[in-house]
Symmetry: C2
Subunit: 542 residues, 2 copies
Amino acid sequence: MALGLNTMLEKSETLLGSDHASVVSMNLFVALLCACIVLGHLLGKTRWMNESITALIIGSCTGIVILLISGGKSSRILVFSEDLFFIYLLPPIIFNAGFQVKKKHFFRNFMTIMLFGAIGTLISFVIISLGAIHFLEKMNIGDLTISDYLAIGAIFSATDSVCTLQVLKQEETPLLYSLVFGEGVVNDATSVVLFNAIQRFDLTHINSAIALEFAGNFFYLFILSTALGVAAGLLSAFVIKKLYFESHATNREVALMMLLAYLSYMLAELFHLSSILTVFFCGIVMSHYTWHNVTDKSKITTRHTFAALSFLAEIFIFLYVGMDALDIEKWDVVRNSPGQSIGVSSILLGLILLGRAAFVFPLSFLSNLTKSSTDERIDWKKQVTIWWAGLMRGAVSMALAYNQFTTSGHTKLLGNAIMITSTISVVLFSTVVFGLLTKPLVKHLQPPSKRLTTPISSFHEPLISSQGQSEYNIDDHPISLGMFWNTPSRAIHHYWRTFDDAVMRRIFGGRGVSERVPGSPIDTSVRLWIEDVDNKEIHIEP
Amino acid sequence: MALGLNTMLEKSETLLGSDHASVVSMNLFVALLCACIVLGHLLGKTRWMNESITALIIGSCTGIVILLISGGKSSRILVFSEDLFFIYLLPPIIFNAGFQVKKKHFFRNFMTIMLFGAIGTLISFVIISLGAIHFLEKMNIGDLTISDYLAIGAIFSATDSVCTLQVLKQEETPLLYSLVFGEGVVNDATSVVLFNAIQRFDLTHINSAIALEFAGNFFYLFILSTALGVAAGLLSAFVIKKLYFESHATNREVALMMLLAYLSYMLAELFHLSSILTVFFCGIVMSHYTWHNVTDKSKITTRHTFAALSFLAEIFIFLYVGMDALDIEKWDVVRNSPGQSIGVSSILLGLILLGRAAFVFPLSFLSNLTKSSTDERIDWKKQVTIWWAGLMRGAVSMALAYNQFTTSGHTKLLGNAIMITSTISVVLFSTVVFGLLTKPLVKHLQPPSKRLTTPISSFHEPLISSQGQSEYNIDDHPISLGMFWNTPSRAIHHYWRTFDDAVMRRIFGGRGVSERVPGSPIDTSVRLWIEDVDNKEIHIEP
């Protein structure tokens, strides 16, 4: 709850007799967060709004009020800090995403997700960079180097998985959700890796050797980051299984899971890996193994604590971006060239639309070639939804732009100021306008309920499994070599689950292997309730 | 999980390309926290150790290792910051204490707790201050003013409720627990209020007018702080009851409760009230009203999330104090006068023992006069336990001492350095030695099980109550005026519960009034399990 108000602390010497203004700001910020939750809930009943947009709007309004009160001096109560974002706010969001994602869908579409997230982002990066070089150089907006243009490509390739999550519902459109969301995570990681590579490499003269090194660097980071996340997750499973905390130890288990997840993130930072990927895979492994080794109360608590922290971090970010958008300093510099600023923002928005279209449709076509069943194919309606749902830009773009174009939050050069204000405009416009249109679009293109009402069990596999029973009981038929070539991901899935049952779950626990309730008085409906299968179906809560 | 690593952030410019050393420290600190949990669990099976002491020892050992590696330069990976302590670590601990305390016992002994916590702390403060003036002035340890001596009184009157909580068990000795723990919270608040008053008032010439103003100030703070906490708690109950979040909204409910609790703490800071008291009463009110308005999953999640956060904060503090204890700078100044430092520490320990004895025994006698049943009386064994269990000094003393005797964490003057090192010695000695002896002492003086095995229902009131049924079903007989004089607290309790049933719970919800599960499939044992009555009795978890 006290995540990252560190910027306040830098100002206040001591709270016991502390600087009044910073305590006022902290109060205001916490009160605004409460307001966002309450108003977001009330407005969320309409089909247009969601908490992100509410927070953005409340943030902007507060910004205006502060601007008026302070006589046009400042609109912010906190200075945007990348640290705040990357150290405190992003880890819970991405970890929770990994922890809650439906693994079956994620891994079944693993190849497609990687195709979209890695190759797609690269395509988008190239198109936006080239477009930026082509259009912005003509506009004469100050000294932007080749690195700056490449950075622009990376900045605007980062989709906003946070906002996407609020628009698509895992229960309603599971395939789309896992594709868009999985792509979002890989995409975030790819953008950050690209961005770091751009800052590190000397890109004034690109040749094939540097390009190759660049690619090698990328895969090295990708594989090591994933391995670290998996290792941290397995460690937590092993420790909790071996220690076998007594039944009162819910607090210890929850604390240990939190700490290990955070440790994986910080270790990735330490080794200059992609911490986003690491903590995402740590979340996946923890939900696959660790979660089954803890008490029932820890199960419920971790599910909802991680979700609540992630939810708070999301609102925090949007409230903050809204408030920061009106910061007068940035707009002061570009005041004399409003046309340029609007022009740059429009060009960037156009490039984002184009860059995304340039990989979603071709890559979907490629992906469809490998799928045999029509059910798993991405039809054109889904393609349009995927294209649209990934257009929003958010806090990752903001943080990267601040990193590239400012020195500790302040902007003086015209070119830099224009890039910052354009980033803010693009983030606000894409989140509010594209975001508002996404829900109706999804409703229109993907009429719900047909999938939802009938065979829920088809995508919620039976969850009560007795000792040692496999959880992989869908399409569990023998596999041939021919099939491997036709549907490689299914074959991999088959071998993986054999290995998982025989080796991994023996060591690290997991569903059915190390559940703590052998002959408990909890009946089936309650077990389903604890495992959070589908509230709508069970109707325990009215 | 990322609570208050702000000190790190001040150093690191940006994490994306950030200062390596600070990331290393953060990793080390998180890893040490994990180690404390795991080792604390393994060692906790013995009757001597607990997590606090484990963390202290691990902290000290790490301090030694860092000292050796850095060649005697530093033993700390984080600089002790009062902000870290008062803004991030203390609120979850105190809030959780209020949230988990058994209200029935707390309020039944309310008068005794207030007597011990307020009057007792004042007595202890006077004795330690006078003793310090008497003994320390003779020792010639540098320029200490009258304010310094009074501050010493306040610093060493603050018992360590955190450590106490780990030693006494609510289930085994409910009366003792509520007395010692309740006293600890009121005592913390009293000490902080006293300390602030000392810093604010001009105490060079004390007269009756100033003393009266001092007392008035104290009661004003006490009443307003309590009122603010109650108001925040009631607000959360009202909002959640009125909004009636749908059944999926566990995350929102949990986030809102966290935010409002934190807001109450920060508001108290804003108005210069006692934030400890505020957040404690906010916790009590939230567990009495708000907790019953949320979904079953929120119930379990809040219970354990708050406990886990509090647990983490506790370990963090002890690990930190252990690490800070070996900081070379402080010891450098007093190196030439080891005798003085040991002398001061011993005198202070003696004064603590005396100051506590001086109020526990007389006030217990006073308290016993008002009790009619022998069951509620504090016999001499209990008195000894109360005396002993409150001897530990902890993080509050450390934070206050740093505030009084250092300028932003650094000590140069001899007098100040001696006071800091003595505080550290007293904290370490009292926590480790007194702490280690407390468990055996409690076992010896309060043989367990007699109360525990037989009538559990006598202190766990029936928890499944139908619509509108009163929860106050123990000694619910009519009340006469005569009885009011004999047992005033029981009479107050009677009027309060009538009022609570008739008015408060209509508006704010509460047990039986706003439970969300009218005809749910969850049976009795599961309901008891959700409400966390007593795991040992129900045996759902093995």
